[in-house]
Symmetry: C2
Subunit: 205 residues, 2 copies
Amino acid sequence: MRSVHDDLTARAVIRDRALELFAAQGPDAVTVRRIAAAAGVSPGLVIHHFGSKEGLRAAVDEHVAGVFDGLFARASAGELDVADGASLAEAFLGQFPPGSPVPGYLRRLLLSGDAAGTEIFRHWFAASRAMTETLVARGLLAPGRDPEVRTAFLMVNDLVPLLLRDQLADVVGVDPLGPEGAVRWAEGVLDIYHGGLFGTEGELA
Amino acid sequence: MRSVHDDLTARAVIRDRALELFAAQGPDAVTVRRIAAAAGVSPGLVIHHFGSKEGLRAAVDEHVAGVFDGLFARASAGELDVADGASLAEAFLGQFPPGSPVPGYLRRLLLSGDAAGTEIFRHWFAASRAMTETLVARGLLAPGRDPEVRTAFLMVNDLVPLLLRDQLADVVGVDPLGPEGAVRWAEGVLDIYHGGLFGTEGELA
DNA sequence: TAATGTACTGAACATGCGTTCAGTACATGA
DNA sequence: TCATGTACTGAACGCATGTTCAGTACATTA
């Protein structure tokens, strides 16, 4: 028999397959039967372990939220190198292997308005706020007139390649989460952060 | 009997109620029976007019796409005053009465990856690209190293209050689509467009 | 006036859903 | 060795869904 905390239990397998399917198609579009089939178990077992489909969803939410709690903790402990003020997302997303369903699931969490997503969004905002305050204190960033809005703006710019990946890829012709697209996006954003919009040396402002 | 092009036909009523419900809860979460009840007709009539639920969804998509086609046409004809380079969304959204379901439906269209949403996204991007090129030609905007990415960046910043309305409201404490929030967001964005991030006069860059 | 066609209803149908449950297999503890 | 409990199956249940269809009402055309 497998131990309770062994992540190879059928329970964990069900949860992982559900995470993948939910990330790809959304929880409402995925049936208990399909999750069960993907996990190689019976539909009844899914309910046995999670009580209901909603319970499974909550378990997946909690699992993902836990992963990000860990990342936030590592970031604030300085174990994750957050290169500059706007790359929290890059630092986090770089932690997952290429095919990981977690970024896609995070996207759904953030856009759905779920409690778990709201929580992560708040956490993320607080971390971003702390970062900008540190940079301001060190004189690396101007104080800014509206710190709350500015932080939200920076955070959202950081998040947008994840949230609008497909649409941006379609329109600029390169995956903004891929190696090339990420670089181009980051450079484009930094150009504006540095020089503003109205001139490379500001002569037209 | 009402004429075919009278927007008070039962067909139009069904379409409008569907638009509202789809915008609020998403097409998958809304049943044909609920739409029928909201429109004051029988479920059978919904199918009679639109062939299927999917057909109704397509009709709503087409209707909304048509509305935005009209707005794009008016904008490029100069009938809509697009104050500065980044306020296409503001100009468009200002055209709808306060309780209109169209912005909410647009949000779903843009985020869902549907064909209709992709089409609007492309159209929007093309319009943004044309605008920035005009501004560059007039010397009001620096040329920029990566015009495609910069346009996408500006466009997305413009769109983000619509796409992340609830999350931003939760975190900054004011509805970014409301009167006060829109102003604060616009000012925050313009501050960065003007001065960049690293100093109000650029002295720290 | 009679014929035709369109708008519309309401009951019914098939399907697929989440969930239940009786029962099997098997590991653990007494 | 026996009792207990947990993991698990597979058939079944009840329900809500999208859709169908026979039938009614009524406007239009001839």
